[in-house]
Symmetry: C3
Subunit: 139 residues, 3 copies
């Protein structure tokens, strides 16, 4: 069995944003030499997500608006977590909707994705360096 | 290490619906010959889900009603994604709540599920052929 | 390839609660002898979750309040599932938001978690014995 590990670093300049990381994940799979296996891609931070959906700017606008309706950033006092001095209570909730991780099959040496599937880093408390873990296992 | 890959195809006649695919996934595990490992089951489409819950029609009605409250299909104009000519903006949101994938343990050659756990395909933009990927790795 | 399987049992005295299980999962990884691989941790019940987030009591209060807003326990008659004689319709919905499972990388013989990542059992229909499956594969 082969395994491979890499951290991808991000610094999203706004509080929230989505970044397509499909190519970086695909590069990890190639570098791993694994042709049949699984790749786990997970946010290493608890106010960020890794998810799979469409690379379409209208949809990303819809996600932003919808998550803000489901778990508004303000008022800050809405969240008891913010009593710790943080202002990111909402980010911990938004991340549960969008998920922490994805697991993708590796077949014939490549990411085994459907035609519109793209892997995204979802940031809900940005403006600082944060990272994603890519772990590949297989043969 | 062994690996196995199969696509399951669906054509749900309504816009939305849930289909129990536990037997199909179980058949894949048997066919793979893997006795200890993991099976990944994921929607290959970004307006569909694979999830695990109860096979109870009242619950499925509750999911349908609840998801429609959280991300209503109409008005179509509610979602900027629909400006692309699509009418499935809501389906991309509903799928994030229900999830893209499940990973299930394989132990002693069978799906290692709790007593009420059943695997479902969740369709949110049906009336066309769509597919699920089953990927098994292990020994 | 090595594999390892263990069930963790819980009996949360209230209907809902969160319990940090990071140490138990970490012990499984050590016991497995796997140094590079993946660990799947999943609820074996469909009214419970395994998720990763912060071990901060204010945040757990926020989750409790937020989930109760998104899928209220009462009135019981709100959920058709409860016509079966159950009163846990809400628990099946809350669990979809928080998720069934996490997959965590194992690197150099340890859980490969970010600095604040902690693994939790999330109970939404407690006051009885329920269990979580830990499955490790790797080398």
């Amino acid at each position: 069995m082969k395994s491979f590990r890499k951290e991808l670093w991000f610094n999203i300049p706004q509080r929230r944003g989505f970044e397509n990381i499909t190519r970086e994940v695909s590069d990890c799979v190639r570098e791993s030499g694994v042709t049949e296996g699984l790749v786990l891609v997970n946010a290493m931070h608890i106010t960020a997500s890794v998810f799979i959906n469409d690379d379409e700017s209208g949809l990303h606008h819809d996600y932003e608006k919808w998550l803000e309706e489901l778990a508004p950033h303000e008022p800050i006092s809405r969240y008891r977590h913010n009593n710790t001095g943080e202002d990111n209570g909402d980010a911990h909730l938004k991340r549960q909707i969008m998920g922490r991780e994805v697991v993708v099959a590796i077949s014939s040496g490549a990411l085994d994705l459907g035609p519109w599937e793209q892997v995204f880093y979802g940031e809900f408390d940005g403006r600082r360096r944060k990272r994603v873990l890519v772990k590949v296992i297989g043969e």
